[in-house]
């Protein structure tokens, strides 16, 4: 609409690709400083990292380590204070909000931590929406494709239900189906299986594996080491820096475990944490 500032000429938005062997996502010297009323806070302190096609990457770190901020640079949800992000041919850090939105529609599937389905649309309508926004596929094709995607995550019988009428786990699965609606080359997922029972979680991971085989890049953010291990490559972030980019063999040990009184018990607990949860949360599916 002309009313809202200059109408930017539609930058050529295309699907991102990279020549063989070259990284799809190139992040260079990313610094992010947040200005708060309490002073400047540097969340990312100069990160350079590459991601390739056909890669399943997990990004792990404590709350406040900067892992979410780093991933926000890729999704364009946030912009670096300095540094560049290149994905395919696009300089992501240079795009306007609107261009970014369009680019995301074609190139990125995001799975949020709290599902974020639009409450006034049914599950299938939620899955169709990205296709409509990015003008992909014909209307008839969209419906079929959406049903297919929903069956992939086991929700074909719930296609016409509203999000409020299905369980958290089902919402999460629907969100995953939505994320791959436009067949994007990159998928970013934030704790994608947090609310799923083990069977559904397994289904999701095998789906991810298949997508990776098709050439997609999947970046999963988590603070659960067990889940992180499912990815082929794990990137560890601590205090705004990459301490292990998963690609090299250098590992900086910054574990702050101190021997304490209850060490033995702590070990028991740690092991317990590492065990597969035999009975997952019950979800009336």
């Amino acid at each position: 609409m002309k009313l809202f500032g200059s109408r930017q000429p539609k930058a050529k938005i295309s699907v991102a690709t990279a020549p063989a062997g070259e990284p799809l996502i190139k992040m260079r010297d990313i610094v992010k400083v947040f200005k708060t009323d309490a002073g400047d806070f540097t969340a990312l302190k100069g990160i350079s990292i590459d991601f390739y096609e056909s890669e399943f990457i997990s990004v792990i770190g404590k709350s406040g380590s900067g892992k979410s901020t780093l991933v926000n640079m890729i999704t364009g949800i946030d912009r670096p204070t300095s540094g560049t992000v290149a994905i395919g041919d696009a300089q992501i850090d240079q795009l306007s909000e609107s261009e970014m939105a369009r680019w995301r529609g074609l190139n990125l599937g995001i799975v949020f931590q709290f599902y974020q389905l639009l409450p006034m649309l049914s599950l299938i309508e939620n899955v169709i929406l990205p296709m409509q926004l990015a003008e992909q596929y014909t209307p008839a094709e969209r419906k079929d494709r959406a049903m297919q995607l929903l069956s992939l995550v086991g929700l074909e019988d719930y296609a016409h239900k509203m999000p409020a009428n299905v369980s958290g786990g089902q919402q999460q699965s629907a969100a995953i189906a939505r994320a791959i609606a436009n067949d994007p080359p990159i998928i970013v997922a934030d704790e994608p299986t947090g609310n799923l029972d083990s069977r559904s979680a397994a289904m999701v991971f095998s789906l991810f594996d298949e997508l990776v085989q098709q050439g997609k890049t999947i970046i999963m953010v988590t603070h659960d080491r067990h889940l992180a291990a499912k990815a082929r490559r794990t990137v560890r972030i601590h205090d705004g820096l990459v301490v292990d980019d998963g690609a090299s063999t250098d590992v900086v040990d910054l574990s702050d475990a101190k021997p304490s009184a209850g060490a033995a018990e702590a070990a028991t607990l740690a092991d317990a944490q590492q065990e597969e949860v035999t009975e997952a949360l019950k979800h009336a599916t």
Binding site: T36, D37, A38, G39, F41, S63, G64, A164, N165, V166, S167, G194, N195, H223, D239, D256, A257, S260, G262, A263, E265, A266, L269, A270, A272, Q273, V277, E279, A280, L281, K282, H283, A284
Partner: protein, 256 residues
């Protein structure tokens, strides 16, 4: 109106019970919580039986959705129980109405959440004074002095007149703790209190907690982090709404 006031009196006297460390202070018996959802009944707590003692640091761990938050909510009277009993001292919390539970909570319990829950448009000092204002325990002038003292104890007295958005996360958390202590509660309940803090700040919080334990308070903390869990005395694990591990089951006194 008058009936209400006498209730209040009854409620407030429960914390004056003798500070006996060897009798369980908080008791949960056969607590069950069922939630109605769009997709049917969900049992979030099953047959919980627990004893907590004064002067103890309790840690509760478990996966997301295992029931940690529900348990905390039951302990703090935020949620009522579907069946079972919740005792704090001589008070039958499970029998209180929602309104009385609020008053009971204000006087007997300090609650600290992961995100700090300070009112955004009041200063730190005013935030700390609020519980005293609502529960009517101190006169306005007294409560002001007390609030300053508490802020001093958590080492942010310099920021007393700032609003929350003007201070760092760690400082906000400390302010939240000061507020939780406003009415001198015997129990502090904390849900991931250091989740959003860096390790240095987290450490300060922990030192503060230990001081409070030494004073005879009970601190019940929920956490994901195994390092933090290691530093508690009484540890329990909840999974699928049931206690699967308990370092001090009923009858087992942590002070013994």
């Amino acid at each position: 109106m008058f009936k209400f006031r006498s209730n209040a009196a009854a409620l407030q006297s429960s914390s004056a019970v003798t500070a006996d460390r060897n009798t369980p202070f908080i008791r949960l018996r056969d607590v069950r919580k069922v939630r109605q959802t769009a997709v049917g009944d969900l049992v979030t707590l099953k047959d919980i039986n627990l004893d907590f003692y004064r002067g103890t640091f309790v840690g509760i761990v478990g996966k997301s959705g295992a029931g940690k938050s529900t348990l905390i909510n039951v302990l703090s009277g935020v949620t009522d129980v579907t069946s079972g009993e919740v005792w704090l001292g001589e008070t039958a919390v499970h029998k209180l109405s929602e309104s009385n539970r609020a008053l009971w909570r204000g006087t007997n319990l300090g609650v600290v959440y992961q995100s700090f829950q300070l009112l955004p448009n009041l200063t730190l000092l005013e935030n700390v004074m609020l519980p005293m204002d609502f529960c009517g325990r101190f006169k306005p002038k007294e409560s002001r002095e007390k609030a300053m003292h508490l802020l001093d104890q958590v080492e942010i007295a310099d920021h007393a007149h700032k609003i929350p958005s003007r201070i760092s996360g760690g400082q906000q958390q400390r302010a939240a703790i000061a507020r939780a202590l406003a009415n001198d509660p015997p129990v502090l309940v904390a849900d991931e209190p250091t989740g959003n803090l860096d390790s240095v700040t987290a450490e300060t919080i922990f030192e503060l907690f230990h001081k409070l334990i030494d004073d005879g308070r009970t601190i019940i903390m929920v956490t994901h982090d195994r390092h933090l869990a290691e530093r508690t005395q009484h540890r329990l694990r909840i999974s699928d709404g049931a206690i699967t591990e308990n370092s001090h089951p009923i009858g087992h006194n942590p002070h013994a």
